[in-house]
């Protein structure tokens, strides 16, 4: 028998976010005790946010691309910004990276009002990729490091380090147009992080990557994360979100519809459903539990889904499932981020 638990990363993020909740609570109670307003007195802000947005509004003509968006991105977290196409993700990112200004509302970077200088500590990879075709890989990396204010000598060191790391050193002098697409995308990623940003913003980072390169980039992202970088993902690829993001926020039509720690959100959306899997059909005729749906998987397993009025009954359910004989899987049916996303977005419209 095998009981499916959260995968490694989710488990890891769950403990991390628990830590956040705790410190946040502590910070809040300390300030409450001293009768201090929470956000205005930075010394008591025990939870540090890399980016905070308060009531952001941005309109283009008659469309509201951002409609009172408020969110906090904790430092050293991986934060997922989800939404269908045209929901306002890019608009939000452009405001966060100082490319455009909100019509109203406040953005703070590490507790300070967002300022142009802050953009130097950010690394932004837009969804639509692009580099200078006629420029060599190394020149490209140095250019992007330099416009972010990095010293040339340091940038050189860093560029060589990364290129060696990715086995691309022999490509340093090649022009971009001579590179394969996957190779160019690796260069693009390096251009985003070469100046060691504290805050990395990735718009659909895995689109266009083959699985091998996608894994490579994912590992790099996790590595940068453990080294202390905060990461904002904007994506509609849910598998990545599930795997990587500790926090997430769903926006649709410029409005925020859901926001929180991804583990919490999944738990919050739990609909008291459990799944039991067997390698053959079962009829559950004499145990008092009736499956609400049956699903036959390609690998031969049959998955039955049960709904419980009261979660206290789940031990009895497990026992009766065991009693059926041949149980290979038993798990609570937490909705995937994908389901949550689709549900919230369709409920919205």
């Amino acid at each position: 028998m095998q009981i499916i638990t959260n995968n490694r990363i989710l488990g890891y993020s769950a403990t991390r976010s628990l830590g956040y909740s705790f410190t946040r609570l502590l910070g809040y109670s300390v300030t409450r005790l001293l009768h201090l307003p929470v956000p205005t007195f930075p010394y008591f802000r025990l939870v540090a946010y890399i980016l905070e947005a308060e009531n952001l509004v941005k309109t283009f003509g008659t469309t509201k691309a951002a409609d009172h968006i408020s969110l906090q991105i904790p430092e050293q977290s991986i934060y997922g910004l989800l939404g269908p196409n045209g929901a306002g993700k890019t608009t939000f990112i452009r405001m966060a990276t100082t490319i455009t200004q909100p019509d109203s509302g406040i953005i703070k970077f590490k507790g300070q009002r967002l300022h142009e200088e802050h953009a130097l500590h950010m690394g932004y990879m837009p969804e639509e990729r692009g580099l200078y075709k006629k420029m060599s890989v190394i020149d490209q990396l140095l250019f992007f490091a330099e416009i972010k204010g990095m010293k040339r000598s340091l940038a050189k060191e860093e560029a060589v380090k990364w290129l060696t790391r990715l086995d691309m050193k022999s490509w340093a002098g090649k022009k971009l147009e001579e590179l394969s697409k996957g190779m160019a995308q690796k260069v693009q990623f390096l251009c985003t992080i070469i100046h060691r940003p504290e805050f990395i913003i990735l718009d659909e980072p895995f689109s266009g990557f083959d699985p091998v390169n996608a894994d490579l980039i994912k590992d790099l992202i996790l590595e940068l994360h453990t080294q202390g970088a905060s990461i904002l993902f904007s994506t509609h690829r849910m598998d990545n979100v599930e795997e990587l993001c500790e926090f997430l926020c769903i926006i649709n039509h410029g409005k925020m519809v859901l926001n929180g720690e991804s583990g919490n959100i999944r738990r919050r959306m739990f609909k008291n459903q459990y799944q039991a899997g067997y390698l053959e059909d079962k009829n559950f005729s004499n145990n008092g539990f009736e499956p609400i749906s049956t699903e036959r998987l390609q690998d031969g397993r049959v998955i039955y889904t049960f709904y419980l009025e009261d979660n206290k009954d789940r031990e009895r359910l497990l026992q009766s499932c065991v009693a059926e004989g041949g149980l290979v899987l038993f798990t609570e049916d937490l909705p995937t981020i994908h389901q949550i996303f689709v549900d919230t977005v369709t409920a919205e419209s």
Partner: protein, 437 residues
Amino acid sequence: MKKVWVILKREYLTRVKNKTFIWMTILGPVLIAVFYGAIFLVAARDAGDKTPKNILYSDESGFFRGRLDTIMNFHFTPAMVNESENLKKVSSGEFNAYMIIEDHDLSRIDSVKWVSRKTMSILQQEKVSSWLSDKVYMSRLQGLGIRQGVIDSLRPKTSISTIEIDESGLMKNSSSGLKSGVGMAAAFIIYLFIFLYGSMVMRSAIEEKTSRIVEVIVSSVKPFQMMLGKILGVALVGLTQFATWVLLSMILIISITTIFGSNVLSQAQTQNLPVGGPMKQQIPMENDMFMAFYNLPHLEIVLIFLVFFLLGFLLYSSMFAAIGAAVSQETDVQQFMFPISLPLIFGFVIAQTSVFQDPNGPMATIFSLIPFTSPIVMVVRSPFGVPPIELMLSISLLLLTFIIFVWMTGRIYRVGILMYGKKPTWKQLGKWIFMKN
């Protein structure tokens, strides 16, 4: 400012390192020399075409009967009565041309038809027409009983050699033709560079926009800084190319003068004699183009050229940059390019008419002050000498316009580079200027 520098450096280095650029810079002067050489060669050959031409002619007036025989390399033969027979002879190649003199009273010279397989060159046309009218003119005068000697004395050949004298009495050979030539050449270089390098700025903006690099850059560099760095970088590329051309040409000229001797130069220097002594010695009579060239106000011309070259380029390329940022693909630029190029072309028209008529006249003065035409008109005027006050005013106006325009185009650029899709209208561009961030 540091970011402008980083952008500038990139724009400059990627272009200067480009192989096409290196070849053009080295071969440019050679190619131009070869090109002009070829033109002169063809023109000279055309003018000196001495191969005999057989011309058939019919003369309805009867005036030329017996008078037309051989002029230079044209051999005239009276035509048959049968018109189609005559034409056939030309079309078959037996005769080079068939000339029909239609007019009876010969009062008009344009009533001559010339049928040939190849269109007559302007030089030939001039030659034949002047010869025919000369014949008529002479015979009329002779018909009035005037002797040939009197006729010749009535038509003196005059040529003016122009000499400038300044307030200190110093006299110099000068040539207004040469001055116009130098001015036009300088203006043409400016025109060429504005378009060549202006469109380079535009293409660069389009490239960054279509490849979406711009989004990464504007997250750390202000669009205005980006545009400024781009314009200045490309301007520097233009200056580099121009300086290299000048340097290479100078090396060419110096090596030629050392090969063919330098006495021409020393002659020119001694020609500038002060007033005093017998008149005959004072006035430099030798009408030497070289000396006229030597006597041009070189320093002023070069300085005016550089200032207007740079400012003119900056003004126009800021507009080019804004267009590049506003459109999403290169095919959309035409609609915007035309209105921008108009003032420059108009500047040339003014230069060829008003400036040549009177370099310091009101038209020339006005258009050398207007910022959009001044980079052309003022430079054409420069060899003739321009009052310093006008020069200062013109430069200040150009500078001021550049500052205003770079602000406006910077605003368009800022909005444009993040806008995709349909190409904008002029009205939208105007709106973008006043749009908030």
